[in-house]
Symmetry: C2
Subunit: 272 residues, 2 copies
């Protein structure tokens, strides 16, 4: 918990998923909202369905074992191309056109996100990387941020022995926010297709705008929350526990309100 966080400069770490990336109009609108955020900022993007579509044309079928996606040799090349090349550079070029000095990176670049290939146990996930925040050197992140560069991060890491690894974008966003919370007042924003944590998953107006850990425990015990949101909430409180100032979950079409505090669900460890 960051008792002295208000002395530090603000940093937004914002994650967008495939639902934005796959829709050109949504993406343009999101990037416009992102471009006007008047603080230090980092954008982490997921993959989107385009990798699956291109993979199908190339004869690379998506493989799953027990519902978990497997990253084999062909799939890691596919996502390196699509996430690290096509998606990442298109976002960078668009941001450059609206006064955002974006720099597109993967975790291999400047060794920003060293990772470890997930050990083979019951399942061999293939080229999947797990990141540990104690292995991340914050210096190059700070170098970019302090020099006006805006990192745009593809969900790829590397193992230090020459291999690119596939890593979950939510995890990357959380870890970056935690690591940089030693230097900045970090605000972690997860954008998805819902307005935030809802009391009734079918009613977007039933938004819970502020959630403390105690509130969460009460709601969870009363079985009010949609089960699918629970892992996201657990992640949010985990990030706050490890030094992130604030976590916000909300709709990618309402980024401005997520940033200015009028939209989405904000998580606080303690009552504010």
């Amino acid at each position: 918990m960051s008792n002295f966080s208000s002395d530090k400069e603000k940093l937004f770490v914002i994650k967008i998923g495939g639902n934005v990336i796959d829709n050109s109009a949504k993406l343009d609108s999101f990037l416009k909202d992102f471009s006007v955020i008047n603080s230090k900022k980092i954008l982490v993007h997921g993959g989107g369905k385009i990798a699956t579509a291109i993979g199908e044309k190339l004869g690379i079928a998506s493989k799953y074992i027990d519902g978990r996606r497997i990253t084999d040799n062909k799939t890691i090349d596919l996502v390196t191309m699509v996430y690290g090349g096509l998606v990442n550079k298109q976002i960078v070029a668009k941001l450059q056109s609206i006064n955002c000095n974006a720099i597109g990176i993967t975790g291999a670049d400047a060794n920003l996100l060293p990772a470890e290939k997930r050990p083979v146990k019951e399942i061999d996930y293939g080229w999947v990387g797990d990141i540990f925040r104690e292995n991340i050197n914050p210096e190059n992140w700070k170098l970019f941020l302090e020099n006006g560069l805006i990192p745009v991060v593809a969900p790829l890491t590397h193992d230090g022995t020459g291999h690119i690894l596939n890593t979950n974008a939510d995890t990357i966003a959380s870890v970056i926010a935690v690591v940089l919370s030693s230097f900045y007042q970090t605000n972690l924003v997860f954008c998805f297709e819902k307005n935030g944590v809802l009391e009734n998953v079918n009613n977007e107006d039933s938004l819970i705008s502020k959630l403390t850990f105690n509130d969460y425990l009460s709601l969870k015990n009363s079985d009010k929350l949609f089960a699918g949101i629970l892992p996201k909430i657990d992640n949010a409180f985990d990030a706050i526990n490890k030094g992130v100032n604030e976590v916000i979950i909300g709709n990618s079409s309402q980024l401005a309100s997520l940033i200015n505090g009028t939209g989405g669900t904000k998580f606080f460890f303690n009552e504010q």
Copy 2:
């Protein structure tokens, strides 16, 4: 011409083409040689046949008009994926494994290489970018170099209005070397499949190891040189004219000797 160049720190700008990229063993060997260069350095890579191979699988045919490649909508997405993603990040991950803190970039990243879409005259080249050195801000190049980062540059630029552009890797290497010659003693190294400029194109032992501009004019007048090498030589002297300290052309399998001055052809404007 850089009369005071010896006061500046040395910088190698090294270009490799498709013949290295398409051969995994050659690439590994080249990168090992690159990794031990004990000076500031930048690597510029071309594309290779892999883009054509992936394009064919995706149903994207290479288009040519009068022998000139055309970059249409599908082709720019293809090369953004393959050059900016697959090739670039694989090189970065390999360099990271051998103690080179590489950072893979395109010209869109950090606005490193702003370009202009080639105007449509007799031929519409499509999404091809021309770069002009006066438009390039050297600050972020210097930021990376002064902080121990080694740029690995894909042959892509951007137009500032949201579009990635395809730009020749030789041209990118030359322009970077010229722009940075104000700050470093730049040495521009073009690696290709021959040992350098040869008096007899069929005899790799007929290497001309040093070539001044006057020597070149004499050789050219005597019709001794292979016609295909003339544009490369003209480019080399053009770079020297604009401030590059030395240009070297030679075999990608002999990088160490190109760097230490015992291999390839070195171009000097004046007698040394």
